[in-house]
């Protein structure tokens, strides 16, 4: 086919002569990884109907839900209509990635230099492996056998030229024949027969695919015959990338990632126990080991994940972030707090009238965010405050409870209480980007900020001269001038202004509020909120 020759010429630009463009890639694919990861992590039955949702759209669903007609891309409501008993969970890429780490490590056992494509999909260069194991097929087979014994999940393997071709080849496998092998230079022919929609995940430009389809270009082969400069000038970077992929000219390199060692500090209890101090003391040596291995790897850790399993199958999973790096004692404090929360929780769970206590069967402490110690030279960000300060405040926290000692920050928001962020001492405050202070917040209060902001708005009464309540209608019309404010006792209002509407998430059905500023005869100034009839004091200027 002359098109292929053209393509070979066009694809040959900028590459060393005599070398085929794409790299031989050995790819490992775990189908339905998102669902599998969630099922394992949260202890779901594999037969349970389950869907993962991101921004109202189903991104993955279990096989049982698929049988009922649920598919990725549906709106949650449509999906629930088709399958009413389905459990809907938010999509959590971090969890998927976390669950995928052991698979990456297992691949690394056999072939070094693993490249993570996305959770559920990893690739290695096949060159060294096939020389070592004899051939591509032998390498793929060895890897598959190893992974099968290691990973409790369906695993498929594919070998092809380039990542894209390998991924597409992997999709042609089945449980019965889990290995796909495309001989060198066979990939372009294989790709040419694929429909244009295969590019959908690689290039997030549905418009381009739509235009191509309307132009009568239905397969990657059709696309590959077009002159590359024309595709580039018509569709820009996305077009260029699509054309390269269609011709099998994938990126000639993989980006091997150093898979971190498994540093989880796991402690199991047989039989289960509910003695918090005993649990913390038993965890202590393994946490010390964890800290020692972090130190020996020259790593610092400022986020940990504590996972606690109980005998009734519940899992308490929480990520603790720290403004600077953790010490072993600080990690154990967090384990203790999480255990305290868990036991406080079980008291509320008192449905049968009996006092329930959960037995803890295991505690896992995993470093969640680690960083090279070299990035944290003293004096830069992440430096610990004076040791004396840390000890004193942590001691106070032991005395008063985790939530008893707080640090604060100012954040964006309309209601004043939302603008105040309080976090327990030792938890990381939101970074300035998360505070969204610079965004416009229409409806914020002008003038100096009030010194007292009630954590919970206090009910007050705003009355007219004849002791009738002041009413504000939907259009913001005030029934009469407010003259008396009754909070601790009635006070005459000497000056007032309002209403100022607070548009607060009206799309979620939240009530519309109006704000008033008033000064009473006692010289105190107030910021009041009303929903029309009822009144609250939001803040006081004093």
């Amino acid at each position: 086919m002359s098109g292929e020759e053209d393509a070979a010429k066009a694809g040959g630009e900028g590459r060393a002569p005599g070398r085929s463009g794409a790299l031989r890639v050995l790819l490992v694919w775990c189908p339905d990884w998102s669902i599998g990861a969630v099922q394992r992590a949260q202890g779901f039955d594999p037969d349970e109907q389950l869907a993962l949702v991101d921004r109202g759209i189903v991104v993955a669903c279990s096989a049982t839900a698929r049988e009922e007609g649920v598919e990725p891309g549906l709106r949650v409501r449509q999906a629930q209509h088709r399958c009413p008993d389905m459990t809907v969970l938010p999509h959590d890429p971090a969890l998927e990635l976390h669950e995928f780490e052991p698979v990456m490590r297992a691949i690394e056992d056999k072939i070094p230099g693993v490249h993570l494509v996305r959770p559920g999909l990893a690739a290695v260069r096949s060159k060294g492996a096939s020389r070592f194991y004899g051939s591509d097929r032998a390498a793929a087979q060895t890897l598959l056998t190893h992974l099968r014994s290691y990973v409790d999940h369906d695993v498929r393997v594919a070998v092809a030229d380039g990542l894209f071709a390998a991924e597409q080849a992997a999709y042609t496998t089945s449980i019965e024949s889990p290995v796909a092998h495309l001989a060198p230079r066979e990939s372009a022919t294989f790709l040419a027969h694929l429909p244009i929609s295969a590019l959908e995940h690689e290039i997030s430009s549905p418009r381009m695919l739509n235009v191509l389809r309307r132009m009568g270009i239905r397969t990657l082969g059709d696309l590959a015959t077009l002159p590359r400069p024309d595709v580039h000038s018509r569709f820009g970077a996305a077009g260029l990338r699509a054309h390269q992929l269609a011709q099998g000219a994938d990126a000639p390199a993989l980006d091997p990632r150093r898979v971190p060692r498994d540093l989880t500090a796991a402690t199991t209890f047989e039989p289960g126990t509910d003695q918090v101090e005993h649990i913390v003391a038993t965890c202590s040596p393994s946490v010390d080991d964890l800290m020692a291995s972090l130190t020996s790897d020259a790593l610092l850790c400022n986020g940990i994940r504590v996972v606690i399993h109980t005998d009734d199958g519940r899992v308490s999973r929480r990520v603790w972030r720290h403004p600077w790096h953790f010490t072993a004692a600080e990690v154990l404090d967090r384990v203790r707090w999480q255990l305290d929360d868990l036991s406080a929780d079980s008291e509320c769970d008192d449905l049968t009238g009996e006092f329930l206590t959960r037995m803890i069967t295991s505690v896992h402490v995993e470093p969640e965010s680690v960083d090279s110690a070299a990035h944290h030279a003293p004096g830069l960000w992440g430096d610990r405050p004076d040791e004396h300060v840390v000890q004193t405040l942590t001691g106070l926290q032991h005395q008063l409870g985790h939530e008893g000692v707080l640090v604060s920050a100012v954040s964006g928001g309309r209601l004043l209480d939302e603008r105040r962020v309080l976090r327990p001492w030792g938890d990381a405050l939101p970074v300035p980007r998360e505070r969204r202070l610079e965004q416009p917040w229409p409806g914020t209060v002008p003038g100096p900020p009030p010194a007292t902001v009630f954590a919970e708005a206090r009910p007050v009464q705003v009355l007219t001269d004849d002791r009738a309540g002041v009413v504000v209608d939907d259009r913001g019309e005030v029934s009469a001038a407010p003259t008396v404010l009754a909070s601790d006792g009635p006070q005459r209002i000497t000056a007032w202004a309002g209403p100022w509407p607070v548009q607060q998430r009206w799309w979620r059905g939240g009530a519309a509020y109006h704000r008033f500023q008033v000064v009473d005869a006692g010289g105190r100034a107030w910021l009041l909120l009303t929903d029309g009839r009822r009144w609250w004091a939001e803040a006081r200027y004093d």
Binding site: T392, L393, G404, P448, V453, A481, A495, W496, Q517, D542
Partner: protein, 201 residues
Amino acid sequence: MTQTAGDVVSALQEQLQQRGTTTGAPALPVHPRLAPAFPSGLRPGVVYSLLGSVSIALALLAGPSQRGAWCGVVGLPDLGVEAAAAWGVDLDRLVLVPAPTEQWVSTVAALAEVAGLVVASAPGRLSPGEVQRLTARLRTRRTSLVVIGNWPRAAATVHATTVGWDGLAQGHGALTRQHVRLDITERHQRRSVCLTIPEQP
């Protein structure tokens, strides 16, 4: 071995300190807006009683905070953090204990270990022994305490009275400025200072 002159002076200063006099100890800086009210700053290691204004308490925190000292706030769950930041309080060095409940004294004493200035709401009844122990601790740590409310034998009592507000009328306008009068009673002397907050609307 003979003592150097410096050692003798510091030992004497120590003794003076313990008798409640303030010679030699550097005063805590105050916010420039409050300088007329506290011309020589806040005395370290003593208790001030402040009545009538949380704003003034926040303004008092601003001075030590800007010098890099840690500050503590005890028993004020409704503190306006944004107002504190507006006064220039470094929130990264501000520790809040909103509900010390029964442990008011030990909380203030613990914060005195690390903070230059602690602002606390007035506690419930304290025994004279507790008061004495706490004041002794504050003196040795040279940490000042501002109690919002009454305090027995405070070094100074500050009454803040809001004289008026600018900017708000009948049905229109918005608060722009507060006029406050501070009446400070210190060692049987009384002085009054009028402030406008903020200076520029």
